[in-house]
Structures are given as C-alpha cells and as structure tokens.
C-alpha cells in the first residue's frame, strides 16, 4: 500500500491541529477542561499576561463555579457586578436594560464555567467583554428606533460607589488617566466606539471624519493605551 502522508503543508495543517488540541470549543460553552492549582509549564510558556494574584483568584473561582459552587459564583458576582453595571449603564444608559444584560451574562458564566480555559485570557476580560458585547447589541437594537446622542467625555469617577476591590479601583483609575492622556482625536473615536456602541461607519458619518481615518485612529489609540497600561506610566 502506498504511503499516504496526507498532511499537505506542515504549517497550516499542523497549526490548526495544535490549536484544536488546546480545546477549540464553543466560546464559553459546553465542556472543555477546568482546573485550579499551580500554574502549569504550559501556562508559563503561554503567559496569561501579568500573572497577578487577581487573575489566579478569578480562575480558582471559575473552577469552583464549574463544580457548581454557588458561593464562588456569588463571590465573583460581588466582585465584578459593580464594574459590570458601570459599563452596562454607561453604554445603555437605562438601568433595567443594563440589569438584563448583567443577568444574561452572569447566568451564561454559570452555565459555561466548565468550558473556561485559562489559556484563553483573563476571566475579567472575558466577563467584561461579554457585558460590553451584549450592551452594544442592546444599544444598536434601540438605536434602530431612536437616535441618541453620545458624549465623548471620559466617564468621570463616580464618587458614590466605592469599588470594594482596591486593585480594580486602581486599574480603573489608570485606564481612565491613560484615556485622558490620548490626543482628543484618538479619545473621540475610542469613546464613540466603545462607550457609544457606534460602528466605524456611524462614527465617520456623525463626525465627518473619513472612514479610513477613523480606522487608523482606532488602531493608533488602542496601541497607545496598550503601551500605557503595560508600561505602568499612566
């Protein structure tokens, strides 16, 4: 029988295969692996950026949630619901809709905690990305009915809410001052996009900035923010 070495090119095919091995599943659904405990060599080689204690704690909570631990779920909920609510309110501007978004995302987290793969990024990032994504969906849906105006101001620090978590509070101040240090042009596109839930075409239409410029400014602004957050210079 002739040898049938079928793998076409050792690059793409092997890459796909390797990615698959790492648990290519539905995003946060079904049943990939979970774990807690010490960092594995794989994780060291594959750094979850800045392995701070917060992230470890979140991962441990997720592992417990995957086992059906309601207390762990409540912990995680209490830790992140104020910032999740802040974000949802900021994007949607209406409390009952914002609460619906939180409910949907947190319940999804409960159901899909088993599928969490630490190699796939921070729990916090996943959670807040989902909140943002759902909130933007809500806004775009509402938007179809009525246009609303969005301020391009950087959200001010709400003084009436104490973020229980010192670390989250610090990080929040840092990103806010990082955002404030960007050029007004960069701030404008990032704020309209992220907090306004605008698409790039909408931003171009509303501001009169050419679409190509909106795109380059978005990239430049994000990169600058990344430098600031990484460098700790904010």
């Amino acid at each position: 029988m002739p040898p049938t070495r079928e793998v076409k090119s050792p690059t793409q095919a092997e890459a796909t295969s390797d990615m698959n091995h790492r648990g290519f599943g539905y995003e946060w659904s079904s049943t990939a692996r979970t774990r807690s405990g010490p960092i594995t060599p794989d994780e060291m080689q594959h750094p979850a950026p800045i392995g701070d204690l917060q992230d470890r704690r979140d991962r441990d909570l997720i592992a417990a949630i995957a086992d059906g631990d309601e207390e762990a779920f409540t912990d995680l909920y209490r830790r992140y619901s104020p910032v999740a609510m802040g974000l949802a309110m900021r994007v949607i501007g209406q409390r009952s809709l914002a609460e619906d978004v939180l409910q949907e995302v947190f319940v999804t987290l409960w159901r899909s905690a088993k599928g969490y793969d630490p190699g796939r990024g921070r729990v916090r990032t996943w959670l807040l990305t989902q909140i943002h994504h759902r909130a933007v969906d809500v806004v775009r849906h509402e938007e179809a009915q009525r246009r609303r105006s969005v301020s391009v101001e950087i959200p001010s620090d709400p003084t009436d809410v104490v973020v229980e978590d010192q670390w989250l509070g610090d990080r929040s101040r840092r990103i806010r001052s990082g955002l404030a240090s960007l050029s007004p042009q960069h701030q404008q596109v990032l704020t309209l996009a992220y907090f306004g839930g605008r698409t790039q075409t909408q931003i171009a239409q509303e501001t009169g900035i050419p679409l190509g410029t909106v795109k380059t400014r978005t990239l430049a602004g994000m990169r600058r923010l990344r430098e600031i957050m990484e460098g700790g210079s904010a």
Partner: protein, 239 residues
C-alpha cells in the same frame, strides 16, 4: 484581500466591537485566514482584547440593586435543576460564530504558531509514547467509536491524558479531513481534525472525554466549529 495594515486596523475594530455589520463577516474571515500564520497580529489581537477589557473599567463602577443578585442566584438555581434535555438543542443544531473562533485563536497566541514550525516526526513519536503509556495504565478507560468502515478507540484517563487511536481507517477524500467531536447535553465541541496516515490514527486529545457523554467523527472540509455533516463514527462515553 486585506493588506497587513488593514488587518491590524480590523483587529483594533474587532477588539472594540466596532466593526460594521456589513464589513464584519468579511473582516472576520480575513482575520481567520491571517492570524494563524502571523505571530505579530496574534499578539496584537491578544493585547488589544486586554485593552478592551481595561476600557470597561474606565466606565467606573455603578451601584447594583441587591434584588438583581437575588434574581440571578434564583436563575442559576433554577438552571441547575432544569432537565438538560429540554434546555439544549440537539446535535448539530447550534452553530458557533466565526467571532468565537477568532477570540479563541487570539487567545491561543504563541503556542499554536510556535509549534507549527517543528517537525511532525517528533510529535508523532511523542503521541505514540503518550498513547503507549495510556494503554498500559490500568485506570485508562476506552470508548469505541463505531461506523461502517471499522472503528476507532478513544483512550482516556479521567482528568488526564487522552488519545484517539485506530488502524485500518480509510482516508477521507482529497481536501477533506476527519473531525472529532465530544458531545454533551446535545452540544458538540470540536476537538481536532486529522487524516489517517497509512491508515493509522494516533491523535492526542487535549480535552477530558470523561466530561462528555459521547464522541463522534464527521468528514469536513476544514476545522469546523459545528458539524456540517452527519457522523460516520460515533460512540457513547459511560461514566
């Protein structure tokens, strides 16, 4: 075909969730094509997603009504007592967005691309070694995946290693691959695509089959996130 600069701009827009619906699917397809072969862009994607997560914190915290916590906790309790069968859609009914794949690829980052460059021989040897170790372990369990043209065996240690093994398995038609799925609650999770080599299959699995109820193999054109064809081999995993 996007230029490299356009790809980078699309990554930023993607991370911020500001891609236009019209452009979205095309941009995502381009990203899917490009990212697995470009370390620089993978890293950018990963970084900018983290920036997007940080931006969320810029909104500041807002007070949360304690009633919401009660509502959500009530929701998850109800969820855990509801019969699974009525909650889930059947096999092959749930599609996954390209966006989900992208998010995953982005987070896989370095490993996937670094490993692709190395020879597949060393990997074959490693796979065989792992399979042998597994086969020799008394705690190892096995699942038979049966089909018209013979069958495959999934060896696994709950919470540990797993390998898909077979011999005498025919290759799928040119340009097609076999894809392994692990299924629970009616939801197939894509695991790996492979082609038999000399009719032999030794494929390490990096998911724990013990957490699933069934395994199936379909013929696909490429790595799919949801099956596009009916299984040609299948078997149940018993606890």
């Amino acid at each position: 075909m996007m230029t490299h600069d356009q790809i980078r701009e699309a990554i930023a827009a993607y991370a911020l969730d500001t891609l236009d619906p019209v452009e979205r699917s095309e941009s995502e397809r381009e990203l899917l094509d490009h990212l697995p072969s470009c370390d620089e862009c993978l890293l950018l994607m990963r970084d900018l997603r983290e920036v997007s997560g940080d931006l969320a914190l810029a909104a500041g915290a807002a007070p949360v009504d304690p009633a919401l916590e009660a509502r959500i906790l009530g929701g998850i309790r109800e969820d855990s007592t509801a019969p699974l069968a009525v909650r889930r859609k059947p096999f092959a009914m749930r599609a996954v967005s390209i966006a989900a794949a992208l998010a995953l690829i982005a987070s896989l980052g370095w490993n996937a691309t670094l490993m692709e460059r190395n020879d597949s021989n060393a990997k074959q040897v490693a796979a065989l070694t792992a399979a042998t170790r597994l086969a020799a372990d008394p705690t190892t369990r096995s699942v038979a995946l049966r089909g018209s043209g013979g069958g495959l065996v999934l060896l696994y240690r709950p919470g540990g290693e797993a390998t898909l093994l077979a011999s005498g398995i025919a290759s799928p038609p040119d340009g097609k691959v076999l894809e392994l799925w692990l299924i629970t609650d009616g939801v197939p999770t894509p695991v790996v695509t492979f082609r038999p080599q000399n009719e032999i299959v030794v494929v390490p699995i990096h998911l724990d089959p013990a957490k699933f109820r069934g395994a199936a193999i379909t013929v696909e054109s490429r790595f799919e996130l949801a099956p596009t064809t009916e299984p040609i081999y299948a078997g149940s995993i018993t606890a």
